[in-house]
């Protein structure tokens, strides 16, 4: 099991942390980025999933 990663929304700066998931939008802790549905949107600004990029 590789480490959990973080992804950041380029529109508003919101960070999705795989370890934490996103309670507000019903994404369970530990959910991998690729397992989040494609129609999921940024909980803070509504941007599409494609606006996020991996944080290095």
């Amino acid at each position: 099991m590789s480490e959990y990663r973080k992804y950041q929304c380029s529109v508003c700066g919101h960070i999705y942390d795989e370890a934490e998931g996103d309670e507000e939008t019903g994404i369970a802790p530990g959910t991998r980025w690729e397992d989040i549905p494609d129609d999921w949107r940024c909980p803070e600004c509504g941007a599409e999933k494609s606006e996020y990029s991996l944080m290095l």
């Binding site: 380029s10 529109v11 508003c12 700066g13 919101h14 507000e24 949107r41 909980p43 803070e44 600004c45 509504g46 941007a47």
Partner: protein, 337 residues
Amino acid sequence: MHVIIIGSGIAGVSFAEKYRSLSKESKITLITRENDGYYSRPLLSRGFSMNGIEQSIILKTFDKLRASDINIISGAVITAINRSDNTVSISGSSQENSMHYDKLILATGSSAFIPPPFRPYNELFFCLNSLVDLKALRKFRLGLLNQNRQPDWAIIGGGLIGCEVASDLAFSGDKVTLFHAMDRLMERQLVAEDSDLLLEVLQNSGVKVLLNQDVQGFAKQEDKVSVKAGVTAEFDALIVACGFKPRTELAELAGLEVGRGIKVNQFMQTSDEAIFALGDVAELPNGKLYAFILPIRNQALWLAGFIAGHEQQGWTPPVFTTRAKVHGFEAVHPYNI
């Protein structure tokens, strides 16, 4: 400690949520003229092509925010800030008409800027600056579609919002003419080469783009509206998209220092130390207004930390960029923001 926030856009809501998480004891009240909840402003530009937008644009209902122990007074307008006794006067709320604050956060955003020559005709055009505006536009459009008429729009203004709206309406099948005063589109944000590319993308999507247009006014012609520029042309409806104007009126009335926006120091503090400003309305010491989502959210989170006592240094703008939501358009060069 009672913190009152005015405004439920990304500035007000991000601040409220962050401050709630940092300070369990403080009382937080957010007062807003909105009734629909916290919604995504960027999505307004996709308001015609997205199905179910009137629901999906709402990111957080007010009840959801209330569940986080943020007192939301919706559908209410602040009529005055009374600095002598640290109170705000509220109109339209059934709960209270005056409320005391220890800290006041002005996050009132901006309204559409209407150039003076257009103001006498405000019954003749739409704007797209809020969810209320979008709903009015969608209702009008549906009315025409229900009569089997494909709407024929004129968009006045070829800046960011004008280009986005023109694109989305054309994408949705409508006829669109875009009037722009300058010789190229989005000249403030794009280099000339990208303006040309944008023009090509819009034209290919069916938008008729008219540059160097001196629009002088509008007139009602039975069920059409005409635009008076070089020649006069008729449309089903007009949308004026000529930029934004920060809502500074309350601050001005209260005697705070106001320039283009409400003047703040590096701590987002106005000329009254108990009053702060965030987002579109805040004018930083460098004279800039940071009217983009990323720096606004960054300001809001920073201010929550500052008021909670976690930040010592002033706010510094983060690196950010933007991107016009024009279907099929990607700028080659960075935006000038």
